[in-house]
């Protein structure tokens, strides 16, 4: 499968490129973690210099990059100054929490957008279609930040959902089912904020691409053969409309990851967002680079799975790949 191999090579190139770029940007940085220590009279300048040497902040950039790459290959991803520990284990816990949010939101958003978009395309110009499109327009003009805060206000006023964190304080005492219920309750708000922020875009694109296919002659022919409406929509129209939607799938991964960053901070979800923010404020260099690289990995992974999906769904691409 040279097509997928090529896509995979491209993904690797992107990861290496982004990490090199991130390192190059650190040159711009006007200070580092240890500069703040200089203000503290109790820490001797020699100690700071020694720490800098220990963490190789005084070495030239290419050497630091080479050492960092080897650290990544050893599964450490550099060293966090603030936590005094390798970056990878710190990041992985947060990344797991972020992925829990984004993947759930992704599944939900597409699960809602596909049927709603198809339904809306089928009833073009009708009352329900206009209702859906004005609903998406309304969601689009509310800034994401306002949406997340609004949901938070709603939760506080109604008391239906917990308003922060990932689990309750007494989480460890709960039974297995109780734990799942607790986690789900905590997830509801952030996931809702994420879903609502990408939903309008998805619905609009699904509607547009399905509507385009619905006008095609082959569907008229299929309808003439007496094929039932539902089969027509989901087995005939949807696969034909799938190509742009799968590309949108890759794109929606990026949007959700960005959205998650903000939602996590607003709802104090212990994911990459608050962690990265803290690292930026403390100038914890390798944590920032690690977080950025991890997000690239997720996005590239999303795009790669979109490529695979496309290969599976679109015979034209398979044919092209074979030649």
């Amino acid at each position: 499968m040279p097509y997928l191999l090529r896509r995979f090579g491209h993904a690797i190139f992107l990861l290496i490129g982004v990490s090199a770029l991130a390192f190059a940007f650190t040159v711009l940085s006007p200070g580092n973690y240890f500069d703040e220590m200089r203000l503290n009279p109790q820490i001797a300048p020699e100690t700071i210099a020694a720490l800098k040497t220990q963490y190789e902040l005084d070495r030239p950039l290419p050497i630091r990059y080479a050492h960092w790459v080897s650290s990544v290959l050893h599964g450490n991803m550099g060293f966090s100054f603030a936590y005094n520990s390798p970056v990878a284990p710190l990041l992985l816990v947060r990344a797991r929490n972020t992925l829990l949010l984004t993947i759930t939101a992704m599944l939900l958003a597409w699960g809602i957008a596909l049927p709603l978009g198809i339904w809306s395309a089928e009833h073009q110009g009708g009352v329900s279609d206009r209702l859906v499109s004005s609903g998406t327009a309304a969601l689009m003009v509310i800034p994401d930040l306002a949406l997340a805060l609004g949901l938070l206000v709603l939760a506080v006023k109604s008391g239906w959902f917990p308003t922060g964190g990932m689990v309750s304080l007494h989480f460890d005492d709960l039974s297995f089912l109780g734990k799942i219920r607790d986690l789900l309750l905590h997830m509801t708000l952030p996931v809702a904020a994420l879903v609502l922020s990408v939903l309008p875009l998805l619905i609009r694109h699904v509607r547009a691409s399905v509507a385009e296919v619905l006008d095609a002659p082959f569907l008229l022919a299929a309808e003439g053969h007496g094929i039932p409406r539902r089969t027509l929509l989901y087995r005939y129209a949807l696969p034909a409309a799938a190509n742009p939607l799968i590309s949108l799938f890759g794109f929606s991964v990026g949007t959700l990851l960005s959205g998650s960053l903000l939602v996590e901070v607003v709802m104090s979800w212990p994911g990459l967002g608050p962690f990265l923010l803290e690292a930026i404020l403390a100038r914890d260099l390798y944590v920032i680079i690690g977080g950025v690289l991890l997000s690239t990995l997720f996005l590239v992974g999303g795009n790669f799975s979109a490529d695979m999906l496309l290969y599976w769904a679109d015979p034209r691409i398979r044919a092209e790949a074979r030649n």
């Binding site: 800034p143 949007t255 950025v292």
Partner: protein, 344 residues
């Protein structure tokens, strides 16, 4: 034509909204940094026409707010003291557009502060902060989008027109920028720039960061347009007559990209306003006491504010018309996207 009419309608709406923000000095009753420590977290004052005795007044008025008995942060209307609203009043000195000194405010009251959107923890007028904050947020968005489009135009034209290794290099670079989720990219760029800076520096820093973040997508679009335009017959003809590359680009090729750029602008500006809001909300943007739409909302991060001060959420609702304007303009431009040019 219906399409053009709709586009100019949206432009008029946007211009009007921006004019209000630009002329914030006149429309806002107070200076956004002026504090009134005696009345923090005042709820919005209601505008009345009918007083407590049931009499109608032609001139709208508000009741003075006073702390409820036994409380320091709960207010109630003092119906013994009505404060009439005055229009075109002499108030605090400000500079319109940054250089015209003036005293005139659209409305105000004598000897009494009136906060129609409530006040924040320092007793600052939220309406004034919203209007002045719009200057920061909207202009960060506009200028950031301007820089992005300029970069995108330059890179796209270079890559598309000259092709070869330049094209390869620039488009690979664009892919790198597109491989990062935009907020992470924004964070990464912001992370490596100074954190503790003055408001003006921070403003320009944010514009620079925003400008550097988004160039990849417009660059790709412009490159596509340039690639197809440079093979058009009239361009080949002009080249045959001895036109230089610079002339060809300027006169014949880049005008083709104008509709793409215009549409991108309508999409990018609200995105960048949102990005500025996000940065300021997280404390990475323009610092206090200068207001921005993001920092206006950041007080909602405190649980007590979230629970008891619903009016602190009002600025979020007042931003909606701005986003609606850009969304409307953007989708119109996309619909009638083809060779639409302003002024023709």
């Amino acid at each position: 034509m219906k399409g053009k009419g709709a586009i100019s309608n949206w432009i008029v709406v946007l211009l009007a909204l921006h004019a209000i923000v630009i002329l914030a000095g006149f429309f806002a009753p107070y200076d956004p940094t002026e504090q009134d420590r005696k009345s923090p977290y005042q709820p919005p004052m209601r505008i009345h026409f009918v007083d407590a005795q049931g009499y109608f007044h032609a001139r709208p008025f508000v009741y003075q707010l006073q702390p409820r008995e036994g409380s320091y942060d709960q207010y109630q209307e003092n119906i013994a003291r009505s404060v009439p609203l005055k229009f075109f009043v002499q108030g605090e000195r400000y500079r319109l557009l940054g250089f015209v000194p003036s005293h005139l405010h659209l409305f105000g009251a004598e000897n009494e502060r009136i906060c129609l959107l409530g006040s924040d923890s320092y007793g600052r007028d939220q309406l004034s902060r919203f209007l002045y904050g719009g200057q920061v947020s909207l202009f960060a968005g506009l200028l950031g989008a301007g820089i992005t489009l300029f970069l995108g135009l330059g890179v796209g034209a270079l890559a598309g027109f000259y092709g070869g290794w330049r094209d390869d290099l620039l488009m690979r670079l664009a892919e790198l920028f597109l491989a990062l989720p935009w907020l992470y990219l924004l964070f990464a760029l912001r992370a490596f720039l100074p954190l503790a800076v003055g408001p003006l520096q921070a403003f320009f820093l944010i514009i620079a960061v925003l400008g550097a973040v988004g160039w990849a997508r417009p660059a790709r679009l412009v490159r596509g347009v340039v690639l197809s335009a440079k093979e058009r017959d009239f361009v080949r003809a002009a080249r045959g007559f001895g036109a230089t590359s610079g002339y060809l680009l300027r006169r014949h090729i880049l005008p083709e990209a104008s509709s793409v750029l215009l549409t991108q602008a309508a999409i990018l500006v609200p995105q960048f306003v949102l990005a500025e809001m996000t940065l300021s909300f997280l404390g990475l943007g323009v610092p206090e006491p200068v207001p921005s739409w993001g920092s206006l909302l950041s007080s909602l991060e405190q649980y007590s504010v979230l629970v008891s001060c619903w009016w602190m959420y009002l600025p979020a609702l007042m931003m909606v018309p701005f986003f609606l304007g850009y969304l409307g303009l953007g989708s119109r431009l996309q619909q009638y996207g083809e060779p639409y040019k302003i002024g023709k």
